[in-house]
Structures are given as structure tokens and as C-alpha cells.
């Protein structure tokens, strides 16, 4: 049946994200949208000062040069969903593994909180729940029912909004059609005002991410480590249009 075609292994999408550094303005809309979508707890000042904030996406700010010839640059960083992820082999209970769609999966109910994965990650994008997350009533009403609310002792990180991917797949299947390019948008991608973030299927050569991935501006973070990330960055300061 046409509906079953998508469920075979060969036809699985390979999810990827493009981050256009020439468009990112550091506005942090992605950071707050991610909090809202994924039930990320707020840890308050003291714990944040210890570095125990839980952001799944952060915007690194780099300074270049010295006054007065000083520049600042923004680099949004989230879980790179590495195809050769260093965090996967170190988990003693297989709570994190690589799925067929190219995502690095984090299964909350398997996690026992050894934190080996956070240690192994070279991008340091994994966040650990040191304390029980608190949502003083009625802030519990803001919680997204499609995303598990994690408790103390569980590691979490960006999932490329797997709940949105699943929801879109379910709806598409119910309507008997395939997913269109751009139909699935993680929260950060959806809200980004300059459209610096693009999400899609690398297995589709005509998708926007595939086209942008072929840009001469493209590069990946810490490529030399061999992690094979699924997040592709586009260098800032140059036009995409050749010549």
C-alpha cells in the first residue's frame, strides 16, 4: 500500500538542520521557543551560575579582535545528532542510540543518570536534571502534553522536536500522503525571525536543506573529530550567490 512505503527502512528520512550564520541575529527566540515546546525547566540563578542551566539550544557569542576593531559573532549550538555520536557507545543502559532517521535518540525512561554521555559529548549540548524540575502552579498549564516531563536524574537534549516529527508523520499517514518539505519545523526553526534555521530531509535531494548543504559556505562544527553531525552551518560574511 502507498501508506506503507514510507515505513520501510530505505525510505526513512535523514533529518538535518541548516544554521545560516549570516542570518542569525542572536535574538534568543529559539532558546525561549525551545523551552516552551519541550517543557524545559528553569533552574533559577544559583544553579544557572553553576552552569546547570537546561537550555537545549544556546547561542554562543564569540568576540574577535580588540577595541575599536572588535566584532562579535553568534553561533547557535544544539545537539548535532551526530551519525558517529561519542555519547552513544558510553551509555551503560542504551538510553541513547542512533535511530533510522538520523536522530540521536534519548530515551528518558531508560536513563539512570550516569552522565557518561554528557561527559563524552564534545559539543557539551547535553543537560542533566540535577534537581526535580519545578513548575509552580499554574505554570504547569504551559506544559506541552506531547513531550515527557523529565524528573530528577535524567539527561536531556535537543531532539529536533521529535514530537513534531511524529505528529506530522501521523497526520500525513492518516491523510494518506507523504510529508512535504518544510512541513516539519522544530520550534526553533519555526520561530526564527531571520530564518537562520532550516530543517528538512537530506535524503530528498530537492529539499531546502539539501540545496543549502551544497553551498560553498557550508561547514560543520568540530568536523575533525569525526562525529559526522547532522547540523550544517553556513559561514557568515559571504554571499550565497556565487560570483
Amino acid at each position: 500500500m502507498a501508506q506503507d512505503v514510507k515505513s520501510s527502512v530505505e525510505a526513512a528520512p535523514r533529518w538535518a538542520m541548516i544554521v545560516d550564520l549570516d542570518r542569525c541575529t542572536g535574538c534568543q527566540a529559539c532558546v525561549v521557543a525551545c523551552h516552551a515546546e519541550n517543557n524545559i525547566p528553569v533552574v533559577n540563578e544559583q544553579q544557572a551560575a553553576y552552569g546547570r542551566w537546561m537550555h537545549w539550544i544556546i547561542v554562543d557569542r564569540y568576540w574577535e579582535g580588540e577595541y575599536p576593531n572588535v566584532k562579535a559573532r553568534f553561533t547557535p549550538v544544539m545537539c548535532q545528532q551526530c551519525a558517529q555520536a561519542p555519547c552513544e557507545p558510553v551509555c551503560p543502559v542504551f538510553a541513547t542510540y542512533h535511530n533510522r532517521e538520523g536522530l540521536n535518540a534519548q530515551v528518558y525512561n531508560r536513563c539512570i543518570g550516569t552522565r557518561f554521555c554528557g561527559n563524552a559529548c564534545p559539543y557539551k549540548v547535553r543537560a542533566y536534571n540535577w534537581f526535580e524540575p519545578e513548575f509552580p502552579s499554574p505554570l504547569t498549564e504551559q506544559l506541552n502534553p506531547d513531550v515527557t516531563v523529565r524528573s530528577r536524574g535524567i539527561m536531556e537534549k535537543c531532539t529536533f522536536c521529535i514530537q513534531r516529527i511524529r505528529r506530522a508523520e501521523l497526520d500525513a499517514k492518516a491523510q494518506g500522503r507523504q510529508l512535504a518539505d518544510g512541513e516539519v519545523q522544530p520550534a526553533c526553526v519555526q520561530t526564527c525571525p531571520p530564518s537562520a534555521l532550516v530543517f528538512g530531509d537530506l535524503n530528498d535531494p530537492n529539499s531546502q536543506v539539501s540545496q543549502l548543504a551544497r553551498s560553498h559556505r557550508s561547514f560543520r562544527l568540530l568536523d575533525e573529530l569525526g562525529t559526522d553531525p547532522a547540523v550544517i552551518y553556513l559561514k557568515g560574511g559571504e554571499t550565497n550567490v556565487p560570483g
Binding site: 541575529t25 534568543q28 527566540a29 525561549v32 544557572a48 577595541y67 519555526q190 525571525p193 530564518s195
Partner: protein
């Protein structure tokens, strides 16, 4: 049993909850699936369209409305945090009376009928209609119309509109500038100019933090993305002129560290070079040459610290582009020579004939219906000072305050606290107990914007006339009441002319009637046969706008006939005692302090310092070295008027003679997430000179000195201070 639970690491896997179905299910709801409602974000004056994901009567996520012409589906951090305005744990749940007396912070709930009773008898026993005052801040246009109508019918003075956010973005000054240059298009006045950033090849921004909090940051952010990578044939150039490298400057190609107060001179210098060297391909500059008659480029270079070479290079870049635009920003409004500076910047657009041309300057086209002919224009600071004088002189018996927090947002020397205390009856419509509500007798909380009705004319506009509609996405959580409904109920009780002027039973009837005035306009995205049908489509779409882009071409009928000039800016505090310029800036997360009660915004890292939850002082690395302070050292910042203490952030992107402090913290009230953290830099602002006192809010015109305290305070930062590459900044 708890012990065993901990040992085995088990937690209850089934929560004890009850399933409560609807009593009467709304037609459009499917349990477990979301319904999306179109409304308008009210976290800043821009008025972006939003779609709110509602599941079983609870709002779960806010997204931008893809069809809305201003933000086109995108939304900023503050817009995303809007859910926490609705579900804030510190919201007032009833109308309350401050039972322990003003300042006691003891509130007792009262019935709305009782509140309206008390208000109407107070109104009826007014000595004269002029003894009423309404101080408003960020207010929906519909509410402003109702309140203005109410006061006018009563014979009372019109509402005074002031809030710190609009002051910091220089909205009043920008409106004045537009009026000066482009005249009044109709009796209601000229709306704010539109800068077509998306199609500009060169953008010169003079203190406009257009990617952060100024005007419509989402639309501008979107335009920025297009300017960079969305134009065929090249990537746009952004140059930012300001003393502190803001997050907007971080996205710029070049940051010119301007000496505070000389921004206008630089604009004049650029114009002079363009005229002298006959740059650009727009024909002769003889028509505008007189504007730059008295400008000496070398004098400009000396005064501003920007070399003649650099000025030449920039002038050439600006003139060579087919599409270039110069933007006068909000920061300029805090300076003594603000309006002259804004004129000098706008003049560059006039000189290069960018008015009404792609990538240049436009005026929004008016919405073709009387209620939406123009958006609220904020009061001048002089009008605010007038109000404070009237309050102090005991000329006001009833003061109503909505959408602003003057006790926090105005410096103490304005005398606002003393002024409010003189008024016998003070009513606040705030949702939370903020600093101003603490001085109120009654707090009659308005619905939060996700629970309320309204409309907002988008200003500064999008590329077409637009009215953004607001509707409740959930039923009001508590026993709050729409301020519009309170005013209507009051009008009915007062009777006479006031009741006649406001004949609607509730504000929804008012909104339906107003929206129906657009019925039959062929240019809109929809039309209907009946007002009821139109109202239904209005709510579905989230407002009304035209199908096609439609902007007006400004005509510079107000071009000065004589030379432009920019007087030197005056700063409070002498240069010896107070060697640093103080730059208080609106925080991206908290804006003017209104976001401080939302935990998501408190935890959101500042883009430039990555710090959160507190106030800090940004010092140039050389300055920090000379003061022998480093990151997290607490310093005392002292102005001629006040002082505060905060930890240092060593900040490469600021002039050595300037220090910057974000606005937003330092709340005494306003809820558990806001109160008792950080400091309010407005406490440092010195009053302007005697003759200028009261005419403008000099938030960028104070000098300070820095003193070591020897203490340390660790700021919560996302970046690690121990990382590699930090040595350079020490």
C-alpha cells in the same frame, strides 16, 4: 516506604489525576487535539500576529501567524514567553482593595460590583471633570479609543501615554521627526516611517537596535535575513553607529564606536562629503546642499573621533549603492540633541532621494476606516511632567493607571511617588502587584492579553495597512475583568453624556461595530455580506489587512530651508568627577522591566554577555584594567544623583569612556521571579538642567564614576569564564 522508593529509584509511574471532561464542549474542540486561535501579541508595541495552540482549554504554545503581514509566522523571545504572562503564579485573581492602606502590600478581594460602585460614586462626586487623570502605557488601540472617548465626554483631559519601553525606542521623538519632515497627512497625524531594510544594499543604523527591542524587531529581523541572503545579486551591508556594540551591531559588518552625542555630527559629515564630492547617481545635490552649508568635515572628525578617512569611506559606500537607507534609532532619543540628530540622519535619506524608493523610506498607508486611521501616538515627556505637576498640586482626585509602572519606570526626581500619594483615589489595572499598584487603593486587574479582546493598528507598519485583532484563546482564568468593560460599565452608571458617548453593552460590541466599518473594502484579504460574517472572518484571520502591499511615498515638505545643525549634547555630571558616559539599554529579555516576572525571560541568556537573572556593568577591557577590576568584581556606579552596585562584565565592544547597564531588574515588587534581584539603572539618571527639566527624559545623558568595592558576585552566565581564549580579555 519513601525510603524504599529512593533506594530502588522508583517514582510513581502513574499520577493520581482525575479526568474532567467539558461541561459544555466548545464546537471547535477535539479532545487531545489542538485548536489554534489567531490573536495579537502584546509583549511590546509592535503588534505581531500570533497563533496560539490550545488543547482542552489550555494554551500550550504561541507561534507567529504565517499570514500576518508584520511578522509572517515568526516570533521573538518575548512573544514566545507570553504563556507565562497568562499562567503567572503571581497574578491577582480578583479585584482587590489594599486593605492595610497604601504601601502595606495587604490586599483583600472585593466584588466587582463593589468596585464599580465605589468608582462611579467617586466620579459622580468629582468637583470638576478636570480632576480625573488616566496614565496609560502599552495599551491596545481599542482601549485607548474607549478611554479617550470616556474622558472627552466627561470633559476631562485626554489620557497621558507613557511607558519606558516606548521612551527607550524613541517613539514620540520619531513621530515628531516624521511630522516635521513629512507634515501631517491628515488631522490624526503622521505615522512612523518604514525603513525598507529587506531591499536595502546598505543600511546605516544610528543607534537603532533594530534586531532587539526597537519598533518591530521581528519584522526587522526578518528583513535583515532577507537583506543578507535573500537578495538576488548580493549581500547587504549593515553599519551600526553607537557607543556600545549592541547585539544589533554584532550582526553588522562594521561598528563605529561613536562618541556619545556626536551621532548627528557624523550624519552631517557624511552628508557634507556626499554633496562636496557629488557622490551617488541621483543627479545634482544642489537642492539639498544648503543643509550642509555649515558643516566642516574636519571639525566633525575631531568632535566625534571618527577619522576623515573613515567618514569618506562610509559616505562613498552609502552613496554608491542604488538602495541605501539611514535609520535614526531609539538611543538618540535619550540624548540632549536627540531631535537634531534624528533630523540629520533622516536628511541623508532625503539627500540620496530614498523616499518612496525600494530599500528606502516609506510611510504606512492608512487603514481605510475611521477607527483605525492611525495608531496611538505616545505623549511627549513634557506632557508626563505636566501630569505629575498637576498631581503634586492636588488638582487630581482620581488617577487611573493602566499598562505602565511609573514608580519603576520613572526616575525618582520626577517626583512621581510624591505626586501619586497626593491623589485621594488611585486605581491600578495591573495583573500583578507591581511597584505602582503598591501605591494604589484599588487594583482592578485587567485580563492578560491571551484572555482579552482588542485590536491594534500595526505601527510602525508592515508593507501594507494592517489591523491586528486580539481575541481570548482561553477563558479568563480568574475573576479579572477587561478594563474596556469596566470603563463601559462606569460610563453607564455615570449616565448623561458619558453614557451616550459609550453606548456599547460590552467591549465586544464595540469591537464588532468598529471592525464592520471595513466591510465592503475591496482591498482586504476577505470580505463578507453581513457584519456578523465579517466579524467571524476577522477573528479567524486575526485582524484585517490588504491583499497587496501598499505603502505611501513620503514627501519631504518639511525640509529645512537653512543649514542643519547639531548642538553639542549636554551630560549631567562633570567630566572630572564622573568620567564615564552611562548607557542604560533596554534588555532583550526584560525590555523595560516588564518581562522580569517571567521565568523563561529571566533565564534567557543576554546575547552579548550570556548572563541572566541579574544586573551587570559592562566595562571596556582597558577601563577594567585601569580600575583594577575583572569579571564578577562588584563595582559601585555613582552618578551625580544616585548609585548602584553590580558585578562587572568585561566587554570589548564599548568605548573606554562609556559604561553600559541593562535595564529591567531591581524590582521591589512584581512577583517572585522579579523582586529582590539586581538594580534599576534608572536610579542613576540625573535630572537635566533647570531650563530643560521636564521637557525630555534624559536617559542617555548622565555621566558616572566607577568605584571598586572589593566584593565579588558570580553572575549566572552560559559562557564559561575559564574557557580558552579568555586570557585576551583579562
Amino acid at each position: 516506604m519513601t525510603g524504599a522508593g529512593v533506594l530502588t529509584g522508583m517514582s510513581p509511574t502513574v499520577r493520581r489525576v482525575a479526568l474532567e471532561p467539558f461541561v459544555r464542549p466548545p464546537e471547535e474542540e477535539l479532545p487531545g487535539r489542538a485548536t489554534w486561535y489567531a490573536s495579537t501579541c502584546r509583549q511590546c508595541p509592535a503588534g505581531c500576529g500570533i497563533l496560539v495552540r490550545v488543547i482542552n482549554g489550555r494554551a500550550r504554545k504561541i507561534e507567529g501567524n504565517p499570514a500576518h503581514p508584520l511578522n509572517r509566522g515568526k516570533l521573538c523571545a518575548r512573544g514566545q514567553a507570553g504563556l507565562q504572562v497568562l499562567y503567572n503564579p503571581d497574578r491577582l485573581q480578583n479585584a482587590v482593595r489594599q486593605s492595610g492602606g497604601r504601601g502595606s502590600r495587604q490586599f483583600k478581594p472585593i466584588q466587582w460590583t463593589e468596585a464599580i460602585d465605589q468608582l462611579s460614586s467617586a466620579f459622580k462626586s468629582l468637583g470638576a471633570p478636570s480632576r480625573v487623570a488616566f496614565l496609560g502605557g502599552l495599551m491596545s488601540d481599542h482601549l485607548l479609543t474607549l478611554v479617550s472617548g470616556f474622558l472627552k465626554a466627561l470633559g476631562a483631559p485626554p489620557p497621558v501615554l507613557f511607558d519606558l519601553h516606548t521612551a527607550l525606542e524613541g517613539r514620540a521623538e520619531a513621530t515628531d521627526m516624521a511630522r516635521r519632515w513629512f507634515g501631517d497627512s491628515q488631522a490624526q497625524g503622521v505615522p512612523l516611517p518604514l525603513y525598507d531594510i529587506a531591499r536595502a544594499q546598505v543600511v546605516f543604523s544610528f543607534g537603532a537596535n533594530l534586531l532587539e527591542t526597537w519598533m518591530s524587531p521581528v519584522a526587522q529581523g526578518r528583513d535583515y535575513g532577507l537583506m543578507r541572503q535573500g537578495q538576488a545579486g548580493g549581500r547587504g551591508l549593515l553599519v551600526q553607529f553607537e557607543p556600545r556594540l549592541s547585539a544589533t551591531a554584532a550582526s553588522a559588518d562594521e561598528w563605529i564606536p561613536v562618541k556619545p552625542g556626536t551621532e548627528g555630527l557624523i550624519a552631517l559629515g557624511l552628508g557634507r562629503i556626499i554633496v562636496e564630492d557629488n557622490l551617488g547617481q541621483v543627479g545634482s545635490h544642489s537642492e539639498h546642499a544648503h543643509l550642509y552649508r555649515n558643516v566642516s568635515v574636519t571639525d566633525v572628525a575631531d568632535a566625534s573621533g571618527v577619522s576623515v578617512e573613515t567618514l569618506r569611506r562610509l559616505a562613498n559606500a552609502f552613496a554608491a549603492a542604488d538602495h541605501s537607507v539611514a535609520i535614526p534609532g531609539g538611543y538618540l532619543a535619550g540624548l540632549g540633541n536627540g531631535s537634531q540628530t534624528m533630523d540629520a540622519v533622516l536628511a541623508l535619506n532625503v539627500l540620496m532621494r530614498r523616499l518612496g524608493r525600494e530599500g528606502g523610506v516609506f510611510l504606512p498607508h492608512q487603514v481605510p476606516a475611521e477607527p483605525f486611521a492611525s495608531s496611538a501616538s505616545v505623549s511627549s515627556f513634557a506632557q508626563v511632567t505636566d501630569l505629575i505637576e498637576r498631581l503634586k498640586a492636588g488638582q487630581v482626585d482620581i488617577l487611573l493607571i493602566h499598562g505602565c509602572n511609573p514608580l519603576y519606570e520613572l526616575p525618582q526626581w520626577t517626583g512621581i511617588a510624591e505626586a501619586i500619594r497626593r491623589v485621594p483615589l488611585v486605581i491600578s489595572f495591573s495583573s500583578c502587584v507591581d511597584e505602582t499598584a503598591v501605591l494604589a487603593d484599588l487594583v482592578l486587574p485587567d485580563h492578560t492579553y491571551l484572555e482579552g479582546w482588542g485590536y491594534q493598528v500595526v505601527s510602525p507598519g508592515a508593507d501594507r495597512p494592517a489591523v491586528s485583532g486580539q481575541q481570548p484563546v482561553v477563558r479568563p482564568l480568574y475573576d479579572t475583568r477587561a478594563t474596556g468593560d469596566v470603563m463601559l460599565a462606569l460610563a453607564a452608571r455615570i449616565g448623561g453624556q458619558v453614557a451616550q458617548a459609550l453606548p456599547w453593552s460590552d467591549e465586544v460590541a464595540f469591537l464588532e461595530q468598529n471592525s464592520a466599518q471595513l466591510l465592503g473594502t475591496s482591498s482586504g484579504i476577505y470580505d463578507a455580506h453581513t457584519p456578523a460574517g465579517f466579524w467571524s472572518l476577522w477573528r479567524q484571520h486575526g485582524g484585517w489587512w490588504t491583499e497587496k502591499p501598499l505603502r505611501d511615498e513620503p514627501e519631504a515638505i518639511g525640509t529645512p530651508t537653512g543649514p542643519l545643525q547639531v548642538s553639542p549634547a549636554v551630560f549631567a555630571g562633570d567630566a572630572q568627577q564622573h568620567p564615564f558616559h552611562l548607557i542604560p539599554y533596554p534588555s532583550l529579555a526584560l525590555s523595560d522591566g516588564r518581562g522580569a516576572n517571567l521565568p523563561w525571560l529571566q533565564e534567557m541568556p543576554d546575547p552579548m554577555t550570556t548572563a541572566s537573572w541579574n544586573t551587570w556593568v559592562e566595562l571596556n577591557p582597558a577601563t577594567a584594567r585601569s580600575l583594577q577590576v575583572d569579571n564578577n568584581d562588584v563595582v559601585k556606579v555613582v552618578s551625580p544623583y544616585g548609585e548602584l552596585q553590580a558585578p562587572v562584565v568585561v566587554y570589548p565592544g564599548i568605548r573606554p569612556d562609556a559604561v553600559a547597564i541593562p535595564i529591567g531588574q531591581g524590582h521591589r515588587d512584581y512577583g517572585r521571579f522579579a523582586q529582590g534581584r539586581g538594580s534599576n539603572p534608572l536610579a542613576l539618571l540625573a535630572p537635566p538642567s533647570e531650563q530643560a527639566r521636564g521637557s525630555w527624559l534624559p536617559w542617555g545623558a548622565t555621566r558616572v564614576r566607577i568605584e571598586r568595592t572589593g566584593r565579588k558576585q558570580e553572575l549566572a552566565r552560559v559562557e564559561s569564564l575559564d574557557g580558552a581564549g579568555r586570557e585576551k580579555l583579562r
